[in-house]
């Protein structure tokens, strides 16, 4: 069946979002038709504003509406530690923990020759510039435990170690509060590898 042009355009728009196929897209589009006009306007405005008002922090590359971002600007935070993550979402996850009070650096990706992504394509050169500032004493590498995340971590460690700054990698293994029996074999074997003396 042919949709009228305005709605097929809307469906098309929804389908550009991740995880949304044609069925969900048309369900959302028809839902929009039933919404109050004010709500629709509000929604449209927030979409545009999110895109227009948010930029990347010129220091850490985290998404922000002020530059430098609130985290970089916060003098209360420990200025000697930088936690390197792949994505802005990772910063938010870390912040939820409320245990870490250092700074961040968002790479926005991981090194992957297969996808044509080299060290200069993610924010590594910027990180090095930041490290020249003598305040920073430790870099915590919190890239994902995937092959690319791991390679990026190893690359960073090679790059930074000669400067005398301490480089650490976050641990991986069993989730806390989970039962051992429910962990998959691979996670379990990683946890065994990383065991430590009590």
């Amino acid at each position: 069946m042919q949709y009228p042009a305005p709605i097929s355009k809307l469906i098309d728009g929804f389908m550009k979002l991740p995880g949304i196929g044609p069925k969900t897209a048309s369900r959302l589009a028809f839902y929009v038709l039933d919404m109050k006009e004010d709500d629709v306007l509000e929604f449209a405005k927030s979409l545009v504003n999110a895109k227009r008002d948010l930029t990347y922090c010129s220091v850490c590359h985290h998404i922000t509406d002020t530059d430098p971002c609130r985290i970089c600007d916060d003098k209360e935070r420990d200025q000697t530690v930088v936690c390197v993550v792949q994505d802005s979402k990772d910063v938010i996850a870390m912040e939820k923990m409320r245990e870490y009070s250092g700074l961040y650096h968002v790479l926005r990706g991981a090194i992957s020759p297969m996808d044509g992504i080299g060290p200069e394509d993610i924010n590594i050169p910027d990180l090095l510039k930041r490290l020249q500032d003598d305040q920073i004493q430790e870099v915590i590498v919190a890239t994902n435990p995937t092959i690319e995340g791991e390679a990026t971590a190893m690359y960073l460690s090679r790059l930074i170690k000669p400067t005398g700054i301490k480089v650490t990698r976050i641990a991986h293994g069993l989730p806390i509060g989970g039962d051992l029996e429910y962990a998959d074999e691979v996670t379990l074997s990683k946890a065994m590898e990383g065991r430590r003396e009590l």
Partner: protein, 373 residues
């Protein structure tokens, strides 16, 4: 273990087919292109979630349909299990007792299958990739961790090969450093794979030696040797192997950059088979090569039993007629009464062994199977 029921939907030439299996030995007869091998393939896919014949899952789906489904009820020592593999154009799903499995490595191993098909007769004389595949498939069945390590290795290898290609002709400093990183990462993954392969062959060797001795009427000694591309040997520990693999990669570095490909590591290692200290690949007769292949497959069945405490399902696809009487009897004798087996053949001629007289016989015709009483 035992398959009790099998159900296929839109799989290859089977529109819909249900089968109750009540016998240990099951003989499937039929003309060519009627669905004998497809049925064997279905059992194989149920075990490994991929085909032995094609890497394109789409080919498994019946023409003009959008999915294929294989279901089976199986009995294991630990109890009954229902298994399901669904293949559609959007990917595949696996279920155990109705629960979808998040990772393939969690599914594989639910059903253990050993297949012996005509192409396996080439296991000995064919290219080294066949023997590597044999090792990888078999360890994968008993060790999900191995499967994970192997996938890891292959992915790092791809990244490294791509980087090597990018580095030609003049590598920059960043690329050199990235190559160091990927070399470390590759060596670490390689060590895990190599250690497991060594220990697998150490366990397989006595079984295959024994079986081969019997089939050759005490005349031949079969030995298996892992021939690595790096200077590693069996007694070394993980970190030592990692070190040696890295050393080899470092030696080849310039050459690798020139050729744009990783030249050493588990993906180039070889399994060498000797009979009475002579390499079978090059010096063995056709008969010796076949016997050695058969010995390896039979050893594998015993090894799985040894590891998991029960025998796997055996699929003999069109191979009985390829073996002479003596080897046939040996094979059938070895499995009699303990290994549930599916055998295909075009006719009963050439497969008249005593064991097969007790088999349930099915007849495959144009995508149907009917039991012959």
């Amino acid at each position: 273990m035992h398959i009790d029921t099998l159900y296929l939907k839109q799989f290859r030439n089977y529109k819909q087919m249900g089968l109750d299996v009540d016998n240990t030995i099951n003989l499937i007869l039929g003309e060519n292109a009627q669905g004998k091998t497809n049925m064997m393939e279905a059992v194989y896919v149920l075990a490994f979630a991929k085909s032995h014949r094609t890497s394109k899952d789409k080919e498994l789906i019946q023409w003009e349909e959008d999915f294929a489904r294989i279901e089976a009820e199986i009995s294991r020592k630990t109890g009954p299990l229902s298994l399901e593999v669904i293949i559609s154009s959007r990917g595949k799903k696996t279920k155990v007792n109705g629960l979808e499995q998040r990772k393939l490595s969690e599914y594989i191993g639910a059903l253990n299958v050993v297949m012996f098909a005509p192409e396996d007769l080439n296991l000995v004389k064919g290219g080294p990739q066949l023997r590597r595949r044999f090792i990888d498939m078999e360890i994968g069945q008993i060790s999900p961790v191995y499967l994970h390590n192997l996938t890891l290795y292959q992915r790092v290898l791809k990244q490294r090969n791509q980087l090597l290609k990018n580095m030609f002709p003049v590598p920059d400093h960043e690329q050199e450093m990235m190559l160091d990183v990927l070399t470390d990462q590759l060596a670490r993954a390689a060590a895990q794979v190599i250690v497991r392969r060594f220990s697998f062959l150490r366990m397989l060797a006595p079984w295959s030696q024994d079986i081969h001795r019997q089939i050759s009427r005490e005349k031949e000694e079969l030995s298996l040797t892992y021939v690595p591309t790096a200077e590693v040997s069996e007694g070394m520990d993980l970190s030592m192997i990692e070190e040696k693999v890295k050393e080899k990669l470092m030696q080849n570095r310039q050459n690798e950059i020139r050729r744009g490909v990783t030249l050493s590591g588990p993906h180039r290692d070889e399994l060498s088979l000797c009979i009475n200290n002579k390499e079978v690949q090059t010096f063995g007769s056709q008969g010796q090569q076949r016997t050695a292949a058969l010995s390896l497959k039979l050893a594998e069945i015993e090894l799985i039993n040894d590891n998991i405490g029960e025998y796997p399902i055996l699929l003999l696809d069109d191979v009985l007629s390829e073996l002479d009487n003596h080897r046939q009897s040996h094979l059938l004798h070895a499995i009699e009464g303990k290994v549930q087996t599916f055998v295909t053949a075009t006719g009963v001629n050439g497969v008249e062994h005593q064991t097969l007289k007790k088999a349930s016989t099915y007849y495959a015709e144009a995508g149907t199977l009917r039991q012959v009483k």
